[in-house]
């Protein structure tokens, strides 16, 4: 059985300072396929272009060159409002620094993507409460971010990423600001979302052990993919030709 190729990147290039003498190419022709339901990790040294790639994957940024198909949709044809809608419905972001709205309660933060998605008010609150329960944060739903610990904030952020039931969760160093123990709790939530809900998860991490836990790891070096391998016992039938 062939699995759905939810992400297909061909020859993705990202350059800054375009057209100036100090033009800077950060990504040099990335080819990447991700299948629905995969748990993928991206590793690489600082400055290797992981976040840049992640921003393109998450429809926050456009590549300078190359083709990106998200769920078979060619992204170069999508206008800004369309990108907003894709971010809203198909992508769930989890950031290293949580990026919660400081003035809003945990519940409101979780409900926010649904607000932009046009979900009715009562349904928003109901689902937000349900998601907070999923990450075991029900007790803190009316607290503001500055009243929460780092681990708690990140759990709220994961609940928010799940709000519109996106196909893909993109997490950029979600455990980077947390201690090992809390990082473990957060990682366990990702495993649960992957196993119980079949979410496609792409995780950027500097932690080799955490990367080992995922199904597949991609290594970036200076803007190119230098390694793409399956981890441990994970095998996916017939998905990959050799790298």
């Amino acid at each position: 059985m062939m699995r759905n190729k939810i992400i297909e990147m061909r020859g993705i290039v990202k350059s800054y300072y375009l057209g100036t003498p100090n033009e800077l190419e950060i990504l040099h022709g990335i080819d990447l396929d991700v299948y629905e339901g995969e748990f993928l990790s991206i590793v690489g040294a600082s400055g290797s272009g992981k976040s840049t790639l992640m921003n393109i994957l998450g429809a926050l940024d456009r590549p300078t060159k190359g083709h990106y198909y998200l769920d078979h949709l060619p992204m170069e044809n999508v206008r800004d409002d369309g990108l907003s809608q894709i971010r809203n419905k198909k992508i769930g972001f989890v950031f290293q620094t949580f990026n919660l709205i400081p003035r809003s309660t945990a519940l409101k933060n979780v409900a926010l993507p649904m607000l932009y998605g046009g979900v009715p008010r009562s349904e928003r609150s109901r689902r937000a409460a349900e998601l907070l329960q999923l990450v075991e944060m029900s007790g803190r739903s009316h607290h503001r971010p500055n009243e929460l610990s780092g681990g708690q904030k990140q759990r709220v952020a994961i609940a928010r990423a799940m709000a519109n039931d996106p196909a893909i969760i993109l997490a950029d160093e979600p455990t980077g600001a947390l201690d090992t123990h809390t990082g473990r709790l957060v990682m366990d939530i990702f495993h649960r979302l992957h196993q119980e809900q079949g979410k496609t998860i792409i995780l950027i991490t500097h932690n080799a052990e955490l990367a080992e836990e995922t199904e597949r790891t991609i290594r970036l070096r200076d803007g190119s993919i230098v390694d793409n391998r399956m981890n441990g016992n994970y095998q996916l039938e017939g998905c990959y030709e050799s790298v």
Partner: protein
């Protein structure tokens, strides 16, 4: 995007920065408050002028003969005077515009003597319609009638102060005989009526405390007693009371033209016809100029206030760059960000407008109470003021909101 959610968000933001919000609103508050105060005062003034005009006869037109040239000594000739026939013709020509015509002539001051009581009074000879035209408020007895006129009777109408002096508040003065001495006459009159003096408690019409006691006798009696006017047959002045739906200012002009024609070109005299309404509208016209001036100041204040709102919105957009980035990452469209900030600007201006309307109304009520004509703030300017302040929010909020909407999501997210 959800309007309610945006309003809630804006209010939360303002609550977090109360002092800043208040200072930002100040220009709007001052602008709206002054507009509100002046329009309340304006409607109080118009109202009080109208009310006083009704009291003293707003529809009255005073017609009189006056010399063309005040430098040369001109004496009235009998042919200058307006005859009864001319007046009757005039009256039938404009029957639907004339309610009444009254005549009066001043007899000057004199002394009233009754027993041991001596009082200074002024005597006016009046025609029967004088009571109607000048709003004489009779509290006892009757006013001058046709038979008093025909019979040149010695009857008199006194005011309540005089009545109280003569017989006390409860006493019956009707039928009582009193003697009045003027420069040239000493006559005895029978009291036929008592009137209550008109009190004009309008500071705009304040003309000094009038403590004179005015008594009325039939104009025929007055003329027969005054040797100067006995030989002249006709009227030198009279008052026309126009009907309530007549434009009395325009009718005053018509009247003037009508009687000027009758005078003839050789006369040293001309006709003056002035309507009280026209004089009052002159006063309200001055008020209109004043409100225009204040409106200009208010406009400048609103402009400055609007710029203040724009400034604070720009600050707010910069402060919340990261938040904007987060919202965009979560799928907010540019339009959603734009409306969030425009609504915030509208809310600031609207709250400023509401405070301004409240403050201005309070000032207006206080001012109108001082004017002895307490007035509720007019409704329409209130609504206009609130709509206008919202419009300021839209106008001055648009640029910052658009700036926020156009932020690049990644740059915004990375903003520290």
């Amino acid at each position: 995007m959800n309007l309610f959610e945006n309003v809630r968000l804006a209010l939360e933001g303002l609550r977090a920065n109360k002092m800043r919000a208040l200072l930002t609103m100040l220009g709007i508050i001052i602008g709206i408050a002054s507009v509100m105060a002046i329009s309340t005062l304006g409607s109080a003034m118009t109202g009080s002028v109208t009310k006083t005009m009704d009291k003293i006869g707003g529809k009255n037109i005073m017609v009189s003969l006056s010399p063309k040239n005040y430098d040369t000594q001109s004496t009235l000739q009998e042919e200058d005077l307006i005859t009864q026939d001319e007046l009757d013709a005039f009256r039938s020509t404009y029957a639907d515009q004339i309610k009444a015509i009254s005549f009066s002539t001043g007899m000057g001051s004199g002394q009233l003597n009754s027993g041991f009581i001596h009082k200074d009074v002024s005597i006016t000879g009046a025609s029967p319609d004088y009571g109607l035209v000048n709003n004489i408020n009779l509290v006892q007895g009757r006013f001058i009638g046709d038979r008093d006129m025909d019979g040149t009777r010695n009857v008199i109408i006194i005011d309540t102060t005089l009545r109280n002096n003569l017989v006390g508040v409860d006493g019956d003065v009707i039928g009582k005989e009193i003697q009045v001495d003027t420069k040239s006459t000493n006559e005895t009159y029978t009291v036929i009526g008592v009137y209550e003096k008109l009190v004009i408690d309008n500071p705009l019409f304040y003309m000094g405390d009038d403590t004179r006691i005015e008594c009325f006798i039939p104009i025929t009696t007055a003329k027969s007693l005054n040797p100067d006017t006995t030989n002249l047959n006709g009227y030198e002045n009279f008052t026309i009371m126009a009907t309530s739906n007549t434009d009395s200012a325009a009718f005053a002009l018509t009247t003037k033209e009508y009687f000027v024609k009758g005078l003839g070109a050789l006369s040293d005299f001309t006709i003056q016809a002035e309507s009280l309404e026209a004089m009052a509208s002159e006063a309200t016209g001055m008020l209109a100029t004043l409100s225009l001036g204040i409106s200009v100041i208010a406009g400048i204040s609103l402009l400055v206030g609007g710029i203040g709102v724009m400034n604070i919105m720009l600050v707010s957009v910069t402060e919340r760059t990261k938040e904007i980035g987060i919202r965009k990452a979560l799928g907010a469209r540019n339009s959603a960000i734009r409306s969030q900030f425009i609504i915030e600007a509208i809310i600031i201006c609207l709250i400023g407008g509401i405070i301004g309307v409240g403050l201005g109304s309070a000032l207006g009520i206080m001012g109108s109470t001082l004017m002895k004509f307490p007035t509720n703030p007019p409704f329409l300017p209130m609504i206009i003021a609130l709509c206008f302040s919202m419009a300021i929010g839209v106008f001055f909020g648009f640029y910052p909101a658009n700036k926020a909407a156009k932020l690049d999501p990644i740059d915004a997210l990375r903003y520290e």
